[in-house]
Amino acid sequence: MRAVSYYPGCSLHGMAWEYDASTQAVCRALDIELREVADWTCCGASSGYSLDRSLGLALAARNLALAGATGDELVAPCAACYQRLRIARKASASGVTVLHLLDLLGDAGTLARIRQSVQRPLGGLKAVCYYGCLLVRPPDVTGVAEYEDPQSMDRMMEAIGAEVRPWSFKTDCCGAGLAIARPGVVRRLSGRLVAMAREAGADCIVTACPMCQANLDIRQEAQGLPVMYFTELLAWAMGLEGAGAWWSRHMVDPAPMLAKAEAS
């Protein structure tokens, strides 16, 4: 069994509860123990960084220091938390390695185990993978070599049988950071991404960030394109208990899409 420190971040204890639940379910099934950092606090997100660099670093670094007590590796499922923690790690003397969930589950050995665990192959599912702007850039912080055309989520979707459609919007911004202050701007940005995903022939958009998922899911008017966390699709394909219960929390119901994918 592999054990890692776990930093869920504020969203996974709020609006993105299903991302937390699906993360926990998939890790449990893959024999990965997530040790939640005791007394973790907000990483400061974009607001800390925007207003005060030192405060932004200090808020994230506090969690790094706490994580050291539970292990050498710290996993964050939220792209924004992940980036803030990586930046704090780079600026500090912390010995903790910060991973995104895609890093934790995306190595060749774990991918092979995911492939072997598939109970419901999603061969009929056409997906586009959306990484957003914080997960892979800047490369000197994330260490991602393929930051123009990231592949880690694509490989994971292929492991569960989905057909990953090529598209040019993997790392375009959805505007989530302005969701409250400038909703009009965000509607345009997210609407364009949904339209382009449709044009790419996708049945759904797959994300690895609570802000991106919420932003793309809740702002759709009539497009009806499901927006999934990659962990939800992993859990569903692996036949894990409780997976279907998360669909009711989506604004666009993914159940018909999944039924169609299984039938084909």
Binding site: D39, W40, T41, G44, G48, R53, L55, R137, I180, I218
Partner: protein, 98 residues
């Protein structure tokens, strides 16, 4: 590019330059005040704090109602986390900036 924009925002805030877009600046301030008050972000609390700061009723009420029906909004803030430590951290950073 993002780093340059970030640095400019930080310098402008430190120099108390009036923000070109006051709503965005108000959101960031409300966010950090929420962190200081609770340790973690409570989403509805943040929206309320932002509305007070901008003196405008929260927008997107219809969307909010739809999200509430889907169970996306938490109506209880839960317990505060390490707030004494977080307040000290804010104080320490502010002290160093002087």
């Amino acid at each position: 590019m993002a780093g340059v924009i970030g640095a400019l925002k930080q310098r402008a805030t430190a120099a108390r330059v009036r923000a070109g877009d006051r709503q965005i600046a108000a959101f960031h301030q409300a966010f950090l005040e929420s962190v200081k008050a609770r340790g973690r972000i409570y989403e509805l609390g943040l929206i309320a704090r932002y509305a007070l700061k901008t003196r405008r009723p929260p927008g997107g009420l219809r969307l909010g109602a739809r999200m509430a029906r889907k169970g996306k909004l938490q109506f209880s803030p839960g317990k505060k986390t390490a707030t004494r430590e977080i307040r000290q951290l804010f104080k320490l950073v502010k002290g160093r900036a002087r």
